[in-house]
Symmetry: C2
Subunit: 245 residues, 2 copies
Protein backbone atom coordinates (compact mmCIF):
# COMPACT_ATOMS: atom_id res chain seq x y z
CA UNK A 1 0.00 0.00 0.00
CA UNK A 2 1.36 3.38 -1.00
CA UNK A 3 0.20 6.82 0.07
CA UNK A 4 0.15 9.31 -2.81
CA UNK A 5 0.09 13.09 -2.48
CA UNK A 6 -1.51 15.05 -5.30
CA UNK A 7 -1.05 18.77 -5.91
CA UNK A 8 -4.27 19.86 -7.57
CA UNK A 9 -5.19 22.99 -9.57
CA UNK A 10 -8.74 23.81 -10.56
CA UNK A 11 -11.06 26.45 -11.89
CA UNK A 12 -13.79 26.36 -9.26
CA UNK A 13 -16.44 28.06 -11.43
CA UNK A 14 -18.34 24.93 -12.37
CA UNK A 15 -18.05 23.09 -9.05
CA UNK A 16 -19.89 23.18 -5.73
CA UNK A 17 -16.53 23.44 -3.99
CA UNK A 18 -14.20 20.68 -2.88
CA UNK A 19 -16.23 18.56 -0.49
CA UNK A 20 -18.73 15.96 -1.64
CA UNK A 21 -22.31 17.11 -1.17
CA UNK A 22 -25.70 16.15 -2.52
CA UNK A 23 -26.53 19.32 -4.47
CA UNK A 24 -23.94 19.29 -7.19
CA UNK A 25 -20.63 18.07 -8.52
CA UNK A 26 -17.48 18.69 -6.45
CA UNK A 27 -13.73 18.45 -7.02
CA UNK A 28 -13.37 15.65 -4.45
CA UNK A 29 -16.07 13.61 -6.16
CA UNK A 30 -14.46 13.94 -9.59
CA UNK A 31 -11.04 12.95 -8.21
CA UNK A 32 -12.48 9.90 -6.40
CA UNK A 33 -14.32 8.77 -9.52
CA UNK A 34 -11.39 9.23 -11.93
CA UNK A 35 -8.83 7.72 -9.53
CA UNK A 36 -11.08 4.71 -8.91
CA UNK A 37 -11.39 4.23 -12.67
CA UNK A 38 -7.64 4.63 -13.19
CA UNK A 39 -6.59 2.18 -10.45
CA UNK A 40 -9.52 -0.24 -10.41
CA UNK A 41 -9.70 0.35 -6.64
CA UNK A 42 -12.24 2.19 -4.54
CA UNK A 43 -10.33 5.43 -3.93
CA UNK A 44 -11.27 8.17 -1.47
CA UNK A 45 -9.03 11.24 -1.36
CA UNK A 46 -8.47 13.39 1.72
CA UNK A 47 -8.08 17.05 0.86
CA UNK A 48 -6.06 19.69 2.69
CA UNK A 49 -8.46 22.55 2.09
CA UNK A 50 -12.20 22.25 1.50
CA UNK A 51 -12.57 25.27 -0.77
CA UNK A 52 -16.03 26.74 -1.32
CA UNK A 53 -18.08 26.86 -4.50
CA UNK A 54 -16.50 29.18 -7.07
CA UNK A 55 -13.14 29.36 -5.27
CA UNK A 56 -10.08 28.41 -7.35
CA UNK A 57 -6.88 26.57 -6.47
CA UNK A 58 -3.47 26.41 -8.08
CA UNK A 59 -2.05 24.16 -5.37
CA UNK A 60 -4.54 22.37 -3.19
CA UNK A 61 -3.36 19.02 -1.82
CA UNK A 62 -5.01 15.62 -1.56
CA UNK A 63 -3.79 12.19 -0.51
CA UNK A 64 -5.04 8.67 -1.07
CA UNK A 65 -3.90 5.08 -0.51
CA UNK A 66 -3.44 2.74 -3.43
CA UNK A 67 -1.94 -0.59 -4.51
CA UNK A 68 -1.55 0.61 -8.10
CA UNK A 69 1.58 -0.31 -10.07
CA UNK A 70 1.62 3.09 -11.78
CA UNK A 71 4.79 4.86 -10.55
CA UNK A 72 3.83 7.64 -8.10
CA UNK A 73 5.23 10.46 -10.25
CA UNK A 74 3.37 9.16 -13.33
CA UNK A 75 -0.07 9.15 -11.69
CA UNK A 76 -0.45 12.85 -12.49
CA UNK A 77 0.01 12.20 -16.23
CA UNK A 78 -2.38 9.27 -16.28
CA UNK A 79 -4.99 11.12 -14.24
CA UNK A 80 -4.78 14.31 -16.34
CA UNK A 81 -5.79 12.23 -19.37
CA UNK A 82 -9.04 11.39 -17.59
CA UNK A 83 -9.83 14.70 -15.91
CA UNK A 84 -11.95 17.52 -17.35
CA UNK A 85 -10.02 20.60 -18.54
CA UNK A 86 -10.84 22.58 -15.41
CA UNK A 87 -9.02 20.21 -13.02
CA UNK A 88 -5.28 19.60 -13.44
CA UNK A 89 -2.92 17.47 -11.34
CA UNK A 90 0.23 19.57 -11.01
CA UNK A 91 2.28 16.86 -9.30
CA UNK A 92 1.97 13.36 -7.81
CA UNK A 93 4.43 11.84 -5.37
CA UNK A 94 4.66 9.16 -2.68
CA UNK A 95 4.59 10.27 0.96
CA UNK A 96 5.08 8.33 4.24
CA UNK A 97 2.11 6.27 5.48
CA UNK A 98 1.54 8.55 8.49
CA UNK A 99 1.46 11.74 6.38
CA UNK A 100 -1.80 13.72 6.57
CA UNK A 101 -2.45 16.94 4.62
CA UNK A 102 -4.32 18.63 7.47
CA UNK A 103 -2.39 17.48 10.53
CA UNK A 104 1.09 18.37 9.27
CA UNK A 105 2.55 21.78 9.98
CA UNK A 106 2.00 23.81 6.88
CA UNK A 107 2.08 27.29 5.40
CA UNK A 108 -0.89 28.07 3.19
CA UNK A 109 -0.76 30.85 0.63
CA UNK A 110 -3.92 32.46 -0.67
CA UNK A 111 -4.46 35.28 -3.17
CA UNK A 112 -7.55 37.41 -3.41
CA UNK A 113 -7.85 39.26 -6.73
CA UNK A 114 -9.79 42.46 -7.31
CA UNK A 115 -10.48 44.30 -10.55
CA UNK A 116 -10.70 47.96 -9.55
CA UNK A 117 -11.97 50.14 -12.38
CA UNK A 118 -15.06 51.92 -13.63
CA UNK A 119 -16.25 49.14 -15.91
CA UNK A 120 -16.08 45.38 -15.31
CA UNK A 121 -13.85 43.32 -17.59
CA UNK A 122 -16.02 40.36 -18.63
CA UNK A 123 -12.96 38.16 -19.21
CA UNK A 124 -12.07 38.47 -15.52
CA UNK A 125 -15.55 38.15 -14.04
CA UNK A 126 -14.96 34.54 -12.91
CA UNK A 127 -11.52 35.17 -11.38
CA UNK A 128 -11.83 38.64 -9.82
CA UNK A 129 -14.03 40.64 -7.49
CA UNK A 130 -15.08 43.73 -9.44
CA UNK A 131 -15.02 46.94 -7.38
CA UNK A 132 -15.97 50.15 -9.21
CA UNK A 133 -15.16 52.55 -6.34
CA UNK A 134 -11.61 53.90 -6.30
CA UNK A 135 -9.71 51.97 -3.64
CA UNK A 136 -6.99 53.60 -1.54
CA UNK A 137 -4.33 50.88 -1.68
CA UNK A 138 -2.02 52.68 0.76
CA UNK A 139 -4.76 52.67 3.41
CA UNK A 140 -5.39 48.98 2.72
CA UNK A 141 -1.67 48.24 3.20
CA UNK A 142 -1.65 50.08 6.54
CA UNK A 143 -4.72 48.19 7.71
CA UNK A 144 -3.19 44.88 6.62
CA UNK A 145 -0.29 45.35 9.04
CA UNK A 146 -2.62 45.02 12.04
CA UNK A 147 -3.67 41.58 10.87
CA UNK A 148 -0.19 40.06 10.65
CA UNK A 149 1.02 37.94 13.57
CA UNK A 150 -0.61 35.50 15.98
CA UNK A 151 -4.13 36.65 16.79
CA UNK A 152 -7.60 35.50 17.64
CA UNK A 153 -9.37 35.96 14.31
CA UNK A 154 -12.91 35.37 15.59
CA UNK A 155 -14.00 38.61 13.87
CA UNK A 156 -12.90 37.11 10.55
CA UNK A 157 -14.71 33.79 10.74
CA UNK A 158 -18.16 32.83 9.58
CA UNK A 159 -19.18 30.36 12.23
CA UNK A 160 -19.87 26.80 11.22
CA UNK A 161 -19.20 25.28 14.61
CA UNK A 162 -18.62 27.02 17.91
CA UNK A 163 -16.06 24.62 19.27
CA UNK A 164 -13.27 25.90 17.08
CA UNK A 165 -10.11 27.51 18.36
CA UNK A 166 -9.94 30.82 16.46
CA UNK A 167 -6.27 31.63 17.05
CA UNK A 168 -4.12 31.53 13.93
CA UNK A 169 -0.89 33.08 12.68
CA UNK A 170 -0.67 35.21 9.55
CA UNK A 171 2.98 35.35 8.44
CA UNK A 172 2.52 37.95 5.73
CA UNK A 173 -0.25 39.98 4.14
CA UNK A 174 0.85 41.89 1.05
CA UNK A 175 -1.22 44.06 -1.23
CA UNK A 176 0.01 44.72 -4.74
CA UNK A 177 -1.49 46.91 -7.44
CA UNK A 178 -0.73 46.60 -11.13
CA UNK A 179 -2.84 48.64 -13.51
CA UNK A 180 -6.47 47.98 -12.43
CA UNK A 181 -5.65 44.76 -10.60
CA UNK A 182 -5.23 44.59 -6.84
CA UNK A 183 -3.90 41.36 -5.36
CA UNK A 184 -4.10 40.56 -1.66
CA UNK A 185 -1.58 37.83 -0.86
CA UNK A 186 -1.81 36.09 2.52
CA UNK A 187 0.39 33.43 4.08
CA UNK A 188 -0.51 31.72 7.30
CA UNK A 189 -0.44 28.50 9.27
CA UNK A 190 -4.15 27.94 8.81
CA UNK A 191 -7.31 29.87 8.07
CA UNK A 192 -10.76 29.86 9.62
CA UNK A 193 -13.92 29.40 7.57
CA UNK A 194 -14.19 32.29 5.04
CA UNK A 195 -11.32 34.09 6.83
CA UNK A 196 -9.50 35.25 3.68
CA UNK A 197 -12.72 36.45 2.07
CA UNK A 198 -13.75 38.38 5.19
CA UNK A 199 -10.28 39.95 5.40
CA UNK A 200 -10.60 40.90 1.70
CA UNK A 201 -14.08 42.34 2.24
CA UNK A 202 -12.85 44.32 5.26
CA UNK A 203 -9.79 45.66 3.42
CA UNK A 204 -12.03 46.76 0.52
CA UNK A 205 -14.06 48.74 3.06
CA UNK A 206 -10.84 50.37 4.25
CA UNK A 207 -9.95 51.12 0.61
CA UNK A 208 -13.32 52.83 0.15
CA UNK A 209 -12.84 54.91 3.30
CA UNK A 210 -15.59 53.28 5.38
CA UNK A 211 -13.01 52.20 7.96
CA UNK A 212 -9.72 53.86 8.84
CA UNK A 213 -6.71 51.50 8.91
CA UNK A 214 -6.68 51.86 12.71
CA UNK A 215 -10.26 50.59 12.94
CA UNK A 216 -9.09 47.23 11.63
CA UNK A 217 -7.13 46.85 14.85
CA UNK A 218 -10.39 47.45 16.77
CA UNK A 219 -12.24 45.00 14.54
CA UNK A 220 -9.62 42.34 15.28
CA UNK A 221 -9.80 43.04 19.03
CA UNK A 222 -13.62 42.85 19.03
CA UNK A 223 -13.42 39.08 18.33
CA UNK A 224 -16.88 39.41 16.87
CA UNK A 225 -17.87 38.61 13.29
CA UNK A 226 -20.37 41.51 13.30
CA UNK A 227 -17.50 44.00 13.66
CA UNK A 228 -15.84 43.15 10.34
CA UNK A 229 -16.79 43.82 6.72
CA UNK A 230 -18.76 41.60 4.39
CA UNK A 231 -17.46 38.32 3.02
CA UNK A 232 -15.97 39.12 -0.39
CA UNK A 233 -17.32 36.92 -3.22
CA UNK A 234 -15.73 33.51 -3.90
CA UNK A 235 -14.48 34.00 -7.46
CA UNK A 236 -11.61 36.32 -6.41
CA UNK A 237 -10.08 33.69 -4.10
CA UNK A 238 -7.20 31.41 -5.13
CA UNK A 239 -5.52 28.81 -2.91
CA UNK A 240 -2.03 29.27 -4.35
CA UNK A 241 -0.20 26.52 -2.54
CA UNK A 242 0.54 24.66 0.68
CA UNK A 243 4.07 24.20 1.92
CA UNK A 244 4.69 21.39 4.43
CA UNK A 245 7.51 21.66 6.90
Amino acid sequence: MKKIKLTVAYDGTNYCGWQIQPNGITIEEVLNRKLSKLTGEDITVIGASRTDSGVHALGNVAVFDTETSIPPDRISYALNQQLPEDIVIVKSEEVPQDWHPRYCNSIKTYEYRIQNSKVPDPTRRLTHYFVSFDLDVEAMKQAAEYLVGEHDYASFCNVRTNVEDTIRTIYSLDIMKQRDEITIRIQGNGFLYNMVRIIAGTLVRVGRGFYTPEQVKEILEAKNRQAAGVTAPPQGLFLMGIEYR
Copy 2:
Protein backbone atom coordinates in the same frame (compact mmCIF):
# COMPACT_ATOMS: atom_id res chain seq x y z
CA MET B 1 -31.77 60.18 -36.15
CA LYS B 2 -28.59 59.79 -34.10
CA LYS B 3 -25.59 57.56 -34.75
CA ILE B 4 -24.27 55.91 -31.60
CA LYS B 5 -20.84 54.37 -31.17
CA LEU B 6 -20.48 51.58 -28.62
CA THR B 7 -17.21 50.36 -27.15
CA VAL B 8 -17.83 46.70 -26.37
CA ALA B 9 -15.98 44.20 -24.15
CA TYR B 10 -16.77 40.51 -24.13
CA ASP B 11 -15.61 37.10 -23.07
CA GLY B 12 -15.81 35.22 -26.37
CA THR B 13 -15.87 31.74 -24.79
CA ASN B 14 -19.58 31.13 -25.13
CA TYR B 15 -20.12 32.82 -28.51
CA CYS B 16 -19.66 31.80 -32.12
CA GLY B 17 -17.76 35.03 -32.71
CA TRP B 18 -19.07 38.46 -33.59
CA GLN B 19 -20.92 38.01 -36.83
CA ILE B 20 -24.44 36.61 -37.02
CA GLN B 21 -24.49 33.04 -38.30
CA PRO B 22 -26.94 30.16 -38.27
CA ASN B 23 -24.98 27.73 -36.07
CA GLY B 24 -24.93 29.52 -32.75
CA ILE B 25 -25.30 32.67 -30.77
CA THR B 26 -23.06 35.64 -31.62
CA ILE B 27 -22.16 38.98 -30.03
CA GLU B 28 -23.75 40.95 -32.88
CA GLU B 29 -27.00 39.04 -32.50
CA VAL B 30 -27.20 39.66 -28.75
CA LEU B 31 -26.50 43.39 -29.21
CA ASN B 32 -29.15 43.70 -31.95
CA ARG B 33 -31.72 41.90 -29.82
CA LYS B 34 -31.05 43.84 -26.61
CA LEU B 35 -30.81 47.22 -28.38
CA SER B 36 -34.06 46.58 -30.22
CA LYS B 37 -35.73 45.71 -26.92
CA LEU B 38 -34.26 48.79 -25.22
CA THR B 39 -35.25 51.29 -27.94
CA GLY B 40 -38.37 49.66 -29.34
CA GLU B 41 -36.79 50.02 -32.78
CA ASP B 42 -35.38 47.42 -35.14
CA ILE B 43 -31.66 47.94 -34.49
CA THR B 44 -28.79 46.49 -36.50
CA VAL B 45 -25.26 47.24 -35.33
CA ILE B 46 -22.22 47.48 -37.60
CA GLY B 47 -19.08 46.15 -35.94
CA ALA B 48 -15.50 47.24 -36.49
CA SER B 49 -13.96 43.81 -36.08
CA ARG B 50 -15.68 40.50 -36.71
CA THR B 51 -13.81 38.46 -34.13
CA ASP B 52 -13.85 34.66 -34.36
CA SER B 53 -15.40 32.17 -31.99
CA GLY B 54 -13.58 32.10 -28.65
CA VAL B 55 -11.72 35.39 -29.26
CA HIS B 56 -12.15 38.08 -26.61
CA ALA B 57 -12.43 41.86 -26.82
CA LEU B 58 -11.90 44.63 -24.33
CA GLY B 59 -12.58 47.37 -26.88
CA ASN B 60 -14.38 46.30 -30.03
CA VAL B 61 -16.54 49.01 -31.62
CA ALA B 62 -20.05 48.98 -33.05
CA VAL B 63 -22.37 51.69 -34.36
CA PHE B 64 -26.09 51.91 -34.93
CA ASP B 65 -28.73 54.50 -35.81
CA THR B 66 -31.54 55.29 -33.42
CA GLU B 67 -34.31 57.76 -32.61
CA THR B 68 -34.20 56.90 -28.92
CA SER B 69 -34.55 59.65 -26.33
CA ILE B 70 -32.03 57.95 -24.03
CA PRO B 71 -29.01 60.30 -23.85
CA PRO B 72 -26.11 58.81 -25.88
CA ASP B 73 -23.78 58.48 -22.89
CA ARG B 74 -26.51 56.73 -20.85
CA ILE B 75 -27.20 54.00 -23.41
CA SER B 76 -24.26 52.00 -22.02
CA TYR B 77 -25.84 51.92 -18.54
CA ALA B 78 -29.28 50.98 -19.82
CA LEU B 79 -27.89 48.31 -22.13
CA ASN B 80 -25.63 46.78 -19.47
CA GLN B 81 -28.74 46.11 -17.37
CA GLN B 82 -30.03 43.90 -20.18
CA LEU B 83 -26.86 42.20 -21.32
CA PRO B 84 -25.53 38.88 -20.02
CA GLU B 85 -22.47 39.09 -17.73
CA ASP B 86 -20.03 38.17 -20.49
CA ILE B 87 -20.80 41.24 -22.64
CA VAL B 88 -20.20 44.75 -21.24
CA ILE B 89 -20.64 48.14 -22.91
CA VAL B 90 -17.61 50.16 -21.84
CA LYS B 91 -18.82 53.43 -23.38
CA SER B 92 -21.57 54.87 -25.57
CA GLU B 93 -21.35 58.20 -27.41
CA GLU B 94 -22.83 60.02 -30.38
CA VAL B 95 -20.76 60.22 -33.58
CA PRO B 96 -21.35 62.10 -36.86
CA GLN B 97 -23.79 60.55 -39.34
CA ASP B 98 -21.04 59.71 -41.84
CA TRP B 99 -18.88 57.92 -39.28
CA HIS B 100 -18.18 54.25 -40.04
CA PRO B 101 -16.13 51.98 -37.77
CA ARG B 102 -14.41 50.17 -40.65
CA TYR B 103 -13.83 53.00 -43.14
CA CYS B 104 -12.23 55.46 -40.73
CA ASN B 105 -8.49 55.49 -40.27
CA SER B 106 -7.79 53.54 -37.14
CA ILE B 107 -5.13 51.89 -35.05
CA LYS B 108 -6.12 48.50 -33.71
CA THR B 109 -4.39 46.96 -30.73
CA TYR B 110 -4.42 43.22 -30.15
CA GLU B 111 -2.86 41.10 -27.45
CA TYR B 112 -2.09 37.43 -27.70
CA ARG B 113 -1.56 35.74 -24.34
CA ILE B 114 0.46 32.59 -23.74
CA GLN B 115 0.89 30.57 -20.57
CA ASN B 116 4.36 29.08 -20.82
CA SER B 117 5.01 26.49 -18.12
CA LYS B 118 5.16 22.77 -17.54
CA VAL B 119 1.59 22.38 -16.34
CA PRO B 120 -1.52 24.19 -17.60
CA ASP B 121 -3.28 26.57 -15.22
CA PRO B 122 -6.98 25.63 -15.49
CA THR B 123 -8.06 29.15 -14.46
CA ARG B 124 -6.35 30.54 -17.57
CA ARG B 125 -7.38 27.88 -20.07
CA LEU B 126 -10.06 30.11 -21.66
CA THR B 127 -7.86 33.22 -21.94
CA HIS B 128 -4.40 31.84 -22.77
CA TYR B 129 -2.67 29.53 -25.21
CA PHE B 130 -0.86 26.93 -23.08
CA VAL B 131 2.64 26.08 -24.35
CA SER B 132 4.62 23.56 -22.28
CA PHE B 133 7.89 23.87 -24.23
CA ASP B 134 10.31 26.48 -22.93
CA LEU B 135 10.03 29.49 -25.23
CA ASP B 136 13.06 31.65 -26.03
CA VAL B 137 11.50 35.10 -25.65
CA GLU B 138 14.63 36.91 -26.86
CA ALA B 139 14.50 35.01 -30.16
CA MET B 140 10.78 35.83 -30.45
CA LYS B 141 11.55 39.53 -29.93
CA GLN B 142 14.20 39.47 -32.65
CA ALA B 143 11.82 37.74 -35.05
CA ALA B 144 9.08 40.25 -34.26
CA GLU B 145 11.22 43.12 -35.53
CA TYR B 146 11.03 41.78 -39.10
CA LEU B 147 7.26 42.01 -39.02
CA VAL B 148 7.03 45.69 -38.07
CA GLY B 149 6.42 48.24 -40.85
CA GLU B 150 4.43 48.25 -44.08
CA HIS B 151 4.51 44.81 -45.65
CA ASP B 152 2.55 42.38 -47.74
CA TYR B 153 1.35 39.94 -45.05
CA ALA B 154 -0.01 37.29 -47.45
CA SER B 155 1.99 34.63 -45.53
CA PHE B 156 0.03 35.57 -42.39
CA CYS B 157 -3.49 35.35 -43.78
CA ASN B 158 -5.88 32.44 -43.92
CA VAL B 159 -7.62 33.06 -47.21
CA ARG B 160 -11.34 33.68 -47.14
CA THR B 161 -11.51 35.58 -50.42
CA ASN B 162 -8.73 36.04 -52.99
CA VAL B 163 -9.55 39.61 -53.93
CA GLU B 164 -8.10 41.13 -50.81
CA ASP B 165 -5.20 43.54 -50.74
CA THR B 166 -2.77 41.96 -48.27
CA ILE B 167 -0.62 45.02 -47.55
CA ARG B 168 -0.90 46.35 -44.02
CA THR B 169 1.20 48.34 -41.56
CA ILE B 170 2.22 47.05 -38.15
CA TYR B 171 3.27 49.99 -35.98
CA SER B 172 4.59 47.99 -33.09
CA LEU B 173 4.98 44.37 -32.03
CA ASP B 174 6.12 43.96 -28.44
CA ILE B 175 6.66 40.78 -26.51
CA MET B 176 6.59 40.89 -22.73
CA LYS B 177 7.23 38.13 -20.22
CA GLN B 178 6.07 38.19 -16.63
CA ARG B 179 6.44 34.99 -14.63
CA ASP B 180 4.97 32.25 -16.85
CA GLU B 181 2.92 34.66 -18.96
CA ILE B 182 4.06 35.86 -22.38
CA THR B 183 2.07 38.67 -24.00
CA ILE B 184 2.43 39.55 -27.67
CA ARG B 185 1.10 43.08 -28.20
CA ILE B 186 0.50 44.26 -31.78
CA GLN B 187 -0.64 47.63 -33.08
CA GLY B 188 -1.48 48.16 -36.72
CA ASN B 189 -3.75 49.93 -39.17
CA GLY B 190 -5.65 46.77 -39.97
CA PHE B 191 -5.25 43.02 -39.85
CA LEU B 192 -5.97 40.25 -42.33
CA TYR B 193 -8.07 37.23 -41.46
CA ASN B 194 -6.35 35.31 -38.61
CA MET B 195 -3.23 37.48 -39.03
CA VAL B 196 -2.53 37.99 -35.33
CA ARG B 197 -3.06 34.30 -34.56
CA ILE B 198 -0.73 33.22 -37.40
CA ILE B 199 1.90 35.72 -36.22
CA ALA B 200 1.52 34.30 -32.68
CA GLY B 201 1.76 30.71 -33.97
CA THR B 202 4.87 31.60 -35.98
CA LEU B 203 6.54 33.41 -33.08
CA VAL B 204 5.87 30.39 -30.84
CA ARG B 205 7.71 28.27 -33.42
CA VAL B 206 10.63 30.70 -33.22
CA GLY B 207 10.50 30.46 -29.43
CA ARG B 208 10.70 26.68 -29.66
CA GLY B 209 13.68 26.88 -32.03
CA PHE B 210 11.91 25.51 -35.11
CA TYR B 211 12.62 28.76 -36.97
CA THR B 212 15.49 31.20 -36.48
CA PRO B 213 14.44 34.84 -36.11
CA GLU B 214 15.92 35.49 -39.59
CA GLN B 215 13.65 32.87 -41.13
CA VAL B 216 10.66 35.02 -40.21
CA LYS B 217 11.96 37.57 -42.73
CA GLU B 218 11.95 34.81 -45.37
CA ILE B 219 8.47 33.72 -44.34
CA LEU B 220 7.23 37.30 -44.79
CA GLU B 221 8.91 37.59 -48.18
CA ALA B 222 7.45 34.29 -49.37
CA LYS B 223 3.96 35.85 -49.42
CA ASN B 224 2.63 32.34 -49.04
CA ARG B 225 0.51 31.08 -46.14
CA GLN B 226 2.23 27.67 -46.33
CA ALA B 227 5.53 29.28 -45.31
CA ALA B 228 4.33 30.43 -41.89
CA GLY B 229 3.51 28.59 -38.66
CA VAL B 230 0.16 27.29 -37.52
CA THR B 231 -2.72 29.52 -36.49
CA ALA B 232 -2.53 29.82 -32.71
CA PRO B 233 -5.80 28.97 -30.92
CA PRO B 234 -8.50 31.63 -30.50
CA GLN B 235 -8.71 31.85 -26.72
CA GLY B 236 -5.35 33.66 -26.36
CA LEU B 237 -6.48 36.56 -28.57
CA PHE B 238 -7.84 39.86 -27.20
CA LEU B 239 -8.89 42.85 -29.29
CA MET B 240 -7.73 45.48 -26.81
CA GLY B 241 -9.01 48.61 -28.50
CA ILE B 242 -9.43 50.69 -31.64
CA GLU B 243 -8.24 54.26 -31.80
CA TYR B 244 -9.77 56.46 -34.51
CA ARG B 245 -7.80 59.38 -35.90
